[in-house]
C-alpha cells in the first residue's frame, strides 16, 4: 500500500506513541533488572523528520556513539537501533562486567559481546510489546555493533528509508539510570517503508 507519513492523524501518532511507550517500558525494565538499577524513561517521541535531521535527535552527526542494530523480520519489517553515547556505553560495560566505574576505555571482544547481548534482550523486550499490539510474530535478527559517529551509524537505516521518501518516522525513547546520570541512551524503532501501514492496520487505527 502507499502511505504518506506526512498525513498521519493525531490518533495514529498517539497509537504509535503508546506502542513505543509499552515497548520501551519493557526494554527499560529488562535493562534495570540486568544492571540492578532504577531506570528513568521519557515519554516516547513520535517524530516525522527530514532524513538529514535524524542525527540531531542524539546530539548531531559527529557525536561518538555505540550502536546496536537489529533487523526485525515478520509481517512488518523494521529496524531497531539502540544508541548510547560512547561514555555511556563504557559505563554500561563497567556495570555488566562488574568493573569499577571508569575502568572501561575501549571495548574488547567480551565487552562487545556484552553490549550485543544487551541489544538482543532490549530488542526482544520491545518486540514483545509490538507483537502483543499487532498480533504479529516479529523476530529480531542477530544484533550487530558499531562504535562510530552517529551520522554514520544512522545512515544505514536512513538510506533504506530514502528509497521511498525524504522523511523518517522515528519512535524514540530516551532513558537514563537514576541519579548519577550513569547510562543514557536512545532506543529507535524505524519501520521500513510499507511496514507502517501494516502496523497501523493491525493496531486498529488504519484511518
Amino acid at each position: 500500500m502507499s502511505e504518506d507519513i506526512m498525513k498521519l492523524s493525531s490518533l495514529q501518532l498517539d497509537a504509535l506513541k503508546e506502542v513505543g511507550n509499552v515497548g520501551a517500558g519493557n526494554a527499560a525494565t529488562a535493562l534495570s533488572q540486568i544492571i540492578n538499577r532504577k531506570i528513568d524513561m521519557t515519554v516516547p517521541q513520535v517524530a516525522i523528520l527530514p532524513l538529514g535531521d535524524v542525527p540531531d535527535v542524539v546530539g548531531g552527526p559527529e557525536i561518538m556513539v555505540a550502536g546496536v542494530y537489529l533487523r526485525v523480520f515478520g509481517p512488518a519489517p523494521s529496524s531497531i537501533l539502540f544508541l548510547l553515547p560512547r561514555e555511556s556505553a563504557f559505563t554500561l560495560v563497567d556495570m555488566l562486567m562488574g568493573r569499577e566505574r571508569g575502568m572501561t576505555d575501549h571495548l574488547d571482544s567480551m565487552d562487545e559481546s556484552a553490549l550485543l547481548e544487551i541489544g538482543n534482550i532490549l530488542a526482544g523486550a520491545y518486540l514483545n510489546a509490538l507483537s502483543f499490539f499487532t498480533k504479529f510474530t516479529l523476530l529480531p535478527s542477530i544484533p550487530a555493533l558499531a562504535m562510530d559517529m552517529a551520522g554514520a551509524i544512522l545512515s544505514v537505516i536512513l538510506s533504506q528509508l530514502g528509497q521511498m521518501g525524504d522523511h523518517a518516522l522515528v519512535i524514540e525513547t530516551e532513558f537514563s539510570t537514576e541519579g548519577d546520570g550513569g547510562v543514557k541512551g536512545h532506543f529507535f524503532l524505524i519501520p521500513d517503508p510499507g511496514s507502517l501501514g501494516t502496523i497501523l492496520a493491525a493496531i486498529g487505527v488504519k484511518e
Binding site: Y69, I142, M149, A150, I153, G162
Partner: protein
C-alpha cells in the same frame, strides 16, 4: 577564520575560496568533492543512494548519485568553474554493520561508491583520489583555497587527499 559551509545528508553546496565545505559523519553515504584548481571554486555533495531510477521518491535529487552530480556540475559552471579542469575526489561508502548474510540493503555503501565512479565517468569528470569502503564513519572537508580533501575518522586517523 574562513567560512565553513555545512553540507547535510542528501544535500550539496558550492563555494569559492577561502571557504571550506564540510560534511559530518558519513557512513554508507559518499561525499563527492569537485574542485577547479585555477578559479578555486568547488562543490561538495553528500549522497545517500546510488540510483534514482530504482527509488520511488525522487523529490530531492541531491539524495542520489546520478541526479545530484549533474546539478552540482551546473552550479559550478555557472559560478565560473571550467568543466574540463574539475578534479573529483570521493570518500565514504562504508559498511557500518557486518552481518553474516549481508543483503543488498546492507551493501548500500559499496553500491554508492560504484555508482559514483560510473556517474563521474559518464560526465567525463576526472576522479583523482578516493578513500572508500571499510566499516567506519568519515567526516570530510574540502578546502577551497587549496583543493585539499581532508578526511577525519574516529580511530582510523586523518588523511588528506
Amino acid at each position: 577564520m574562513a567560512e565553513l559551509i555545512k553540507v547535510g545528508m542528501a544535500d550539496y553546496k558550492v563555494g569559492r575560496e577561502p571557504a571550506s565545505l564540510i560534511s559530518y559523519g558519513l557512513g554508507s553515504c559518499v561525499g563527492i568533492a569537485l574542485f577547479d584548481p585555477v578559479n578555486k571554486i568547488g562543490g561538495l555533495a553528500h549522497i545517500m543512494l546510488p540510483d534514482s531510477t530504482q527509488a520511488r521518491s525522487t523529490e530531492n535529487p541531491a539524495k542520489f548519485a546520478d541526479t545530484c552530480l549533474p546539478l552540482m556540475l551546473d552550479d559550478l559552471v555557472r559560478m565560473g568553474a571550467l568543466r574540463s579542469r574539475l578534479q573529483a575526489k570521493i570518500a565514504g561508502g562504508a559498511q557500518m554493520f557486518t552481518f553474516v548474510n549481508a543483503t543488498d540493503i546492507m551493501r548500500v555503501g559499496e553500491r554508492n561508491s560504484e555508482t559514483v565512479r560510473a556517474v563521474l565517468k559518464k560526465l567525463d569528470l576526472r576522479l583523482i583520489a578516493e578513500d572508500c569502503g571499510g566499516n567506519y564513519g568519515r567526516t570530510v572537508e574540502l578546502k577551497l583555497d587549496s583543493g585539499v580533501f581532508r578526511i577525519k575518522t574516529i580511530d582510523k586517523g586523518e588523511k588528506e587527499l
